[in-house]
């Protein structure tokens, strides 16, 4: 009995130490975000003096000001537009390509596939200078189309890899049945392969959404005009121009961060799956 008691107290002690450790990390994860939201609700006068986490009088109109005056409304819509079109493009191209790689045999198939995989190895710093020159020559620099094409290209390799491994594992019988019923190759892809691949497609969509939303480098080198910029680049230019308006900057940051956090909270399952699978790819 005494022994049992000893083990029990020891276990509780260890568990509470672990909980304290984990909780302290949790606090360090969340407090900067709370501070960001808190600061966004202060005014120009109180933001420098009031260091409390939650301001006594919340100023919600900051969000309106940032949306209108700071122009975050425009940048927000830009980001939404880029994200949506890039993700749609990636899903279309990568699912078609992955399906072809998995099902058809054509000359040079392996070489092309390995070229896609090799593209994953090239670090971005090595490629953005030539990319800039290329876009300049094609007159696509400082256009929405140029940025969207580049971003589709960035996301392709990983998406193709994920989808191809999935198609390789799914049985062919269903598709053969569809072919006997008179379905064309494209029809099979649309009616059979894509619906089957929904779980993987979800990973692809969620991952690329986050990726495009958070992208910065390419947007920085491609866009010159302000009204084309996505949120991330707009934030850094905002910081340079309105150096003193910290409350509006914080409101803008919150506007940028909230969609990502929402997507993350609702799509957590897919994100965690994607991280662990993507790690195996890398």
């Amino acid at each position: 009995m005494k022994n049992f008691l000893y083990y029990n107290t020891k276990k509780i002690l260890i568990n509470s130490i672990i909980h304290i450790f984990l909780l302290s990390v949790v606090i360090s994860c969340l407090s900067p975000l709370l501070w960001m939201i808190g600061s966004s609700l202060k005014t120009q006068q109180t933001i420098f003096r009031d260091t409390s986490l939650i301001p006594r009088v919340p100023h919600w109109e900051n969000y309106y000001l940032a949306w209108k005056q700071g122009g975050f409304g425009r940048y927000f819509l830009n980001s939404v537009f880029y994200t949506a079109s890039v993700v749609i493009g990636i899903v279309l191209v990568s699912s078609l390509a992955a399906y072809a790689f998995a099902r058809f045999s054509f000359p040079g198939k392996n070489i092309i596939f390995y070229m896609f995989m090799a593209a994953m190895m090239i670090p971005i710093p090595g490629s953005f200078v030539p990319l800039y020159v290329l876009l300049n020559k094609l007159h696509l620099r400082n256009t929405m189309l140029g940025y969207i094409l580049c971003m589709i290209n960035v996301g392709l390799s990983t998406s193709i890899f994920l989808l191809k491994t999935f198609f390789d594992k799914t049985p062919k019988e269903l598709e053969e049945a569809a072919r006997i019923d008179g379905c064309s190759k494209l029809g099979i892809w649309w009616h059979v392969a894509l619906p089957l691949a929904k779980p993987v497609l979800a990973v692809v969509v969620v991952f690329n959404t986050l990726n495009v939303w958070n992208e910065y480098v390419l947007a920085l080198i491609i866009f010159d005009s302000r009204n084309l910029m996505p949120l991330q680049v707009a934030l850094t230019t905002f910081q340079g121009e309105f150096i003193t308006q910290y409350h509006l900057l914080m409101a803008g940051l919150t506007i940028t961060a909230i969609p990502v956090i929402l997507v993350y909270l609702f799509m957590q399952k897919y994100i965690i799956k994607g991280v662990t699978q993507g790690a195996i790819v890398g």
């Binding site: 900067p32 975000l33 960001m36 670090p123 710093p125 800039y132 991330q232 914080m250 957590q268 991280v275």
Partner: protein, 226 residues
């Protein structure tokens, strides 16, 4: 270049040690496990611009919350302008980078730990092994490939860090936090020397590939030794 290496070393040791400890702590029957896992991955999903700007505001010399807390807690001599002081700027950037990055390592470590069959632990316990022996003889060798993987990912990710730095310090004070990618961008946009920038980019890319290749070979040897 050395700045990036410095940040990488801090990220490799500090960030991954933290991630591994957290993963070990979560890899057991413990309450709120999913809650912890959810929170730890919030910093990685945020964009580097957001993270950088928020931390810049926290570490601000005159109005930042860190300094005001230090004063309140009775350490006014520790308060300083963290990001414009050459002695602390690089460390601050490295710590913020680790703050943002440990969630990745945590998730991958946790996934790795969960693939270790429970029977191994039970067999060891029946044979009378204590916790430390189990950790050293079972967990560590089986986790080695995962560790190498996280290591490579950390090195590749950290050597290319620069958005965070643009948002936090812009390479200053006086180039104390400048990193290779920032230099490439500067020679491209600042002085329009495209050939030079491209050469810098390619040589930097080659260095990255070589580093990850060496790490991979090293891990192969280590795995064969067990």
């Amino acid at each position: 270049m050395w700045n990036a290496v410095y940040i990488t070393i801090i990220a490799l040791t500090f960030q991954n040690a933290l991630a591994f400890l957290l993963a070990l702590a979560c890899d057991r029957e413990i309450r709120f496990k999913n809650f912890y896992r959810m929170v730890f991955f919030i910093p990685p999903v945020l964009s580097e611009v957001v993270v950088g700007l928020v931390w810049q505001w926290i570490l601000d010399g005159n109005y930042g919350i860190l300094n005001s807390w230090l004063v309140k807690l009775g350490f006014p001599h520790l308060a300083r302008s963290w990001l414009s002081d050459p002695h602390t700027a690089l460390n601050c950037v490295a710590i913020v980078h680790s703050w943002k990055g440990f969630g990745w390592g945590f998730l991958i470590f946790l996934a790795g730990l969960q693939t270790i069959p429970r029977e191994l632990y039970e067999a060891a316990r029946v044979d009378g092994a204590n916790a430390w022996q189990i950790f050293k003889k079972i967990t560590l060798p089986l986790m080695l490939p995962v560790m190498v993987l996280v290591g490579i990912l950390t090195v590749l990710g950290t050597m290319q860090v620069f958005v965070l730095i643009i948002a936090m310090t812009g390479g200053g004070p006086a180039y104390h936090t400048e990193v290779p990618v920032l230099r490439i961008l500067a020679s491209m946009r600042g002085s329009s020397r495209f050939g030079y920038a491209c050469a810098q980019g390619i040589s930097f890319g080659l260095i990255l590939v070589i580093v990850s290749f060496i790490q991979y070979r090293f891990s192969h040897k280590a795995r064969n030794a067990y």
